[in-house]
Structure formats: C-alpha cells, structure tokens
C-alpha cells in the first residue's frame, strides 16, 4: 500500500512538467519525498520517489513561488538587500540538501539490494572497494556543496527570530530541519 501511494504521488510529480502547483499539491509532493527517503534509509519501501528526484527525473515545486508571490516579501535585519537574492540562496541550499538526502537514500537502497543478492556469494573485495568509492564520492560532494552553498548570512546573525515560516517553506526544509522558530540557539555551530 505504501509503495502504491508513493507511485501515485510520483505520477503527480511527473505530470507537473514544471508547471506551477497549488500549495496543497506542493506540500504533498515535498512531504512524499521526505517520507520516501526516510523509509528508504530505514530499509523500507522501494525509494522510487527519492530516486526520481535524485536523478532529476522530476523537480518539485518551488516554495518561493507558492508562498511568496512577487512583491509580498519584506526583509528586516542585516540580510542581502535584494529579497530575491536572499531567498534564492536559501532555496538553492535547501533544495541541494534535499537532493543529497535523496541521493543517500537511493545509494543505500542500491547497496542493500546488492547485499541481499550477494549473501550467497561470500565476501567480495571488488564490491567493497566500489562501495567505499561511492561513499567517498558522496562525502566529498556533500562537503563541497556545503562549503559553497551555505548562505553566509544565515550563520552570521542572531537566530532569535520570532516570526514563523509558512508551512511550505517548512516542508521544503524538512530535510535540513526546522528548528523551533521561537527557540533560542543554545549551542554554537562548530565548523564543518
């Protein structure tokens, strides 16, 4: 049943063809991706939604278009003056982390499938070497991405913000988390 639901949502994502989505559809699609990747990392499901996103078969709705129609945003504080520049940086970052999580889930699914088919063939040094190469590659790409795309203005200013993110932006950030919007940051983020 789970796989059938995911496949139906995947069809919706395919049929969008990049067209704008309503907020509800956008919410469903982002959350479907999050849950499918999570299931995959837990050793469940087929991970088809995560794979389609990881391999750029589908794109998911841009929460900026749905949540912040042009001209509705106003920035306060020491952020980039151009709101579109600031939100573009945050969107690019959140979308990128979603992609890495989907790639992680897809790779884990593939390796788990290999494991089940290799169990009767004994230890395979070549397979292990290939896996370690794939792990190192994803590791290095993630580090490079993080150092390149993490919006500099996010880490330089106070986290004691009081306003709330719209739901869709929160969902888009499920992969990168959504820390309590009224919370206080009690730890300092170490360098990566």
């Amino acid at each position: 049943m789970w796989v059938q639901h995911i496949h139906h949502l995947l069809r919706i994502a395919h049929n969008r063809n990049g067209h704008a989505s309503g907020e509800l559809q956008a919410y469903l699609l982002w959350y479907a991706l999050y849950l499918d990747a999570q299931a995959c990392l837990g050793g469940n499901g087929a991970g088809d939604f995560a794979r389609a996103f990881a391999e750029d078969e589908i794109t998911l709705p841009d929460w900026r278009e749905t949540t912040y129609p042009a001209g509705t945003m106003a920035l306060q504080g020491s952020y980039p003056n151009d709101e579109s520049t600031a939100f573009a940086a945050v969107y690019r970052f959140s979308n990128g982390v979603c992609k890495f999580n989907a790639r992680l889930a897809t790779l884990a699914r593939r390796m788990r499938t290999e494991t089940s088919t290799q169990e009767h063939h004994g230890f395979d040094h070549h397979l292990l070497a290939a896996r370690q190469t794939a792990v190192s590659q994803l590791h290095n790409e993630l580090h490079d991405f993080w150092n390149r795309e993490y919006p500099s203005f996010l880490s330089r200013t106070s986290a004691h913000a009081g306003a709330h993110l719209p739901m869709l932006a929160r969902i888009a950030f499920e992969f990168v988390g959504n820390f309590p919007v009224d919370g206080h940051r009690a730890v300092h983020l170490a360098d990566t």
Binding site: L41, Y68, T72, M73, S158, F173, V187
Partner: protein
C-alpha cells in the same frame, strides 16, 4: 504581509543536524558491517558527528519543541553508530523524551529498536566480537521491530 527572513536563520541549527546525519549514515549504515572497514580517521569523525547530533538534538528537546519529530532519526542513527556507552544512553534518553510526539508511535518504536540494537551490540562485544557487526536494519526485521518511517 511582511516576512522576516531571519526566521530562516533558525534553520541553520537543523541544517547542521541534517548535514551531520547524512555523513554518519553514509559511513555507518549503507550496508552490513560497513563500520568494520572504516579508517581510524573516519571513526574519529563519526564519533565527533554523533556527539554533535546529540548536542543539537538536546537543544531541541530542552526547548520542548516536541513537534520536531524529524530529529528522531538522526538521534537514532547517532545512538547506533556511537561507540561509547554514554552517547548511546544519551540517545535513548532523548528518544524517550520525544515519545508521544508525531502522529504515530514511531518515536516509541524507534526507541525500542535502539535499545534492542544497543543490547545486541553489547552482547556481540561480550562474545568477543565487534559492535559494528550488528546490522540494525536486519535486526529490526528479524525481531519484528521495523519502523515504517522515522519521519512521522
């Protein structure tokens, strides 16, 4: 309506949590026995990232933001991958604090699974083996402790 971009700043902590989670999972959970093949440098990095995850998650729990059920999975992975007992106990306690949140019993089931994994890891060490020989995904399936989705 004016939107304050600084709301997004609150995400940097969780972004960092997720970044660490991806790296810990990538080096420990991709296939059975993966940790047995990690270098000492990798093991040190994993330990550091597990400690970071638990510290960040503690901040969320201390703030009593119990709707943050998506921290369950990073905490679970850190609890499985951490080598020292204190970190594992810390992870179990954090998950216990998250129970009753979310839309299902996943936090409880996740904590039960983590306890079972830690017990199996300890038993493996006592028998002269290595904790990393325990594959938590296989263990969950064999014991009927499978968590359909940690993110719910």
């Amino acid at each position: 309506m004016a939107i304050v971009l600084s709301t997004l700043l609150t995400h940097d902590l969780q972004a960092f949590l997720q970044f660490n989670n991806i790296l810990v999972y990538l080096h420990t959970c991709m296939f059975p026995g993966q940790q047995l093949h990690n270098t000492p440098e990798s093991l040190n990095e994993i330990a550091h990232r597990c400690a970071t995850i638990l510290s960040l998650a503690s901040t969320v729990v201390e703030a009593q933001n119990f709707d943050q059920h998506h921290i369950v999975f990073p905490v679970f992975v850190a609890g499985v991958a951490a080598q020292d007992t204190d970190a594992k106990v810390h992870a179990i306690n954090l998950m216990r604090a998250m129970e009753g949140t979310g839309i299902s019993r996943n936090a409880t089931r996740s904590r039960e699974l983590l306890v079972a994994v830690c017990e199996e890891q300890r038993a493996r060490v006592m028998a002269g083996g290595h904790a990393s020989e325990v594959d938590w995904i296989a263990l969950a399936k064999s014991r009927g402790l499978g968590v359909v989705n940690f993110g719910l």
